[in-house]
Symmetry: C2
């Protein structure tokens, strides 16, 4: 395999691992901040790195539109462009085409769409999505898939999943292996255990450096999401990393780690940071709430982030009330530190064999 | 005097000085970033400090409305509230009342207005403005003044200036001297040399820790602004700091330093940073301009700021094109570093007696 992955310890289904990429090692379980447009919203890479983040995610859909993959390639690749020297995973654009683009037409050879930014017409194919990710210089490339809408009937979910499996084979065929670079397949199949098992088997048959679980966290609820993970059971190879795409809340992450997931990404820390929602070891806080107006305490007394070291809840409340952009900056910073601390705590719990006792707020 | 000020060297009319406050020393000439609402827009205090800024400005008008001076006092004062341990100068609110508030009524005892934020009615008096600044914990308090509109007739400018001089006396009377804290008077009088001289004499008669020049940079143009400074000549005491309020561009600052000004404040570095305008040693750049789209160079090869160390013009262009908030953050950071580097270069030029050769781009 092009990406070395070592499971160093396990605790139940949960694993402590190391993923070796061309741009460095990722200790798993790991959370990837989302750098949609080559930027983690509101945070410099120095802050992202200081939070403990080891790997960031870029979005093929956004970057192919602005500034364009070829332009990023001419500028030295995505790592240099966004000044992030560590590993980068890029998604294939499939999810964003479904959620953002207009006038989509999905066919067996790919998807034709008009960009949400300027209406220009694009044709994204499985091979094309991989080529774009090569141009970006991704350490971890994702296959093009069709994100099955929720809810969908079993017949719809089956047709969509089988198309994604054909695209997965075409994506793998287009991938150029290099040391420290790899490609992940994406399990689809909605909330139907039989389809998920069929999808996993199809991907294993093709053979990937890692296996993602897609099409979840789209409205089905945590119980159904975890049921899909439970249903997958041993269908995903133990020696390869597993990535639950677009998940999630701290509790979602803990429960998925218990079920053997190694990698996560989600916009929640930064999106919540922009909308005044703070994650703390005592639960979430809405910083717009007037009860914080005179509170001299930090967001979270147990947190060592620069926001908690220097600023009170009263000050953050004031910034959000005034619409000062420093509010989203400081709160996104805290939330990302919170998520990274959660992952470090999860790794420590697995190493100590104490994950059963692990609790979030 | 409550604020020690030492002139360590001079070069023509320009001076190299040290202003000692309760929260530290300010080497002059100095530029004060504007923290209107207890935040320098888009920048953490760590970044503000790293830029070389020694003192920041807070706005009495904004802070009395949100979150309120008494609340800031209960939370330990403005230094602790905004996590800035260095010196703070606060303006008196006079300028913002004129530019932002609604239904203003100016009378001899002060100004009645309705807040632009929520329409609440307030009565700001000279003594009240000083008491608010005491509650904030300001190192340097400014007298309440009426910012004379531009253009104004000589009669209008005279009446406005004389009212401001009466307010200056009332402000001084309300000021409670403490070591390391001081109060500055503000010279008004529009573009009329006789009125400016009368105003300066009136303030010197009252006696202040420093003397500000107000009512400029309001549309009169650089030539008239510098003519006012030239006209003041020796009217301001040489042993006290001089502060040109709300100024300005790099060139404005250099020309005012040549005329003996020691302190400056302006929103330009951060406002320009939010609107894609970059200050560089080769002039200003509009980062939205398409010519930057593939430029791998930093904003300014001569700049040592974190933005120039890590990011290309192409990347900054991309961020502004996408509306990513990291664009304003990185560009505000650069612009503030640029301004602080300008001030350090000016101080070095004065110390070396080479200010006559000093050139900006």
């Amino acid at each position: 395999m092009s990406l070395a992955f070592t499971v160093e310890a396990s605790d139940g289904a949960a694993r402590l691992g190391r993923l070796e990429t061309a741009h460095g090692t990722v200790k798993t379980p790991a959370f990837m901040p989302v750098g949609t447009q080559a930027a983690v919203k509101g945070l410099t890479v120095d802050t992202v790195r200081a939070s403990g983040a080891q790997v960031v995610l870029g979005n093929t859909y956004h970057l192919m539109l602005r500034p364009g993959a070829e332009r990023i390639a001419r500028l030295g690749g995505l790592h240099r462009f966004m000044n992030w020297p560590g590993p980068i995973l890029t998604d294939s654009g499939g999810f964003q085409v479904m959620s953002l683009a207009r006038l989509r037409t999905v066919a067996d050879d790919g998807v034709v769409f008009r960009a949400h930014t300027d209406g220009t017409r694009h044709h994204l194919t499985p091979a094309g999505a991989v080529e774009i990710q090569h141009a970006l210089g991704s350490d971890v490339t994702m296959v093009l898939d069709e994100c099955t809408p929720y809810p969908a009937s079993e017949a719809e979910a089956a047709a969509s999943m089988r198309r994604s499996m054909r695209w997965a084979a075409l994506s793998k065929a287009a991938f150029v292996p290099r040391p420290g670079h790899g490609i992940f397949g994406i399990v689809q199949g909605g909330v139907f255990p039989g389809l998920r098992a069929e999808s996993a088997a199809a991907l294993v048959e093709i053979g990937f450096d890692g296996y993602a679980v897609g099409g979840l966290a789209v409205g089905e609820g945590q119980a159904r999401m975890l049921a899909v993970l439970d249903g997958l059971g041993g269908a995903l190879p133990a020696e390869r990393p597993r990535y639950l795409m677009g998940v999630g809340t701290p509790d979602d992450i803990v429960e998925a780690v218990r079920r053997g997931i190694d990698l996560f990404d989600c916009v929640l820390p930064t999106r919540s940071g922009r909308t005044a929602r703070a994650y703390t070891s005592a639960g979430t806080l809405n910083m717009r709430n007037a009860r914080h107006a005179e509170d001299p305490a930090p967001l979270d007394a147990a947190c060592a982030c620069p926001t908690c070291a220097g600023y009170s809840r009263a000050y953050l409340h004031h910034l959000f009330r005034c619409g000062e952009m420093l509010g989203p900056i400081l709160l996104s910073q805290h939330n990302l530190f919170f998520y990274q601390r959660l992952m470090a705590d999860l790794r420590a719990a697995i190493a100590a064999g104490r994950l059963a006792d692990f609790r979030t707020a």
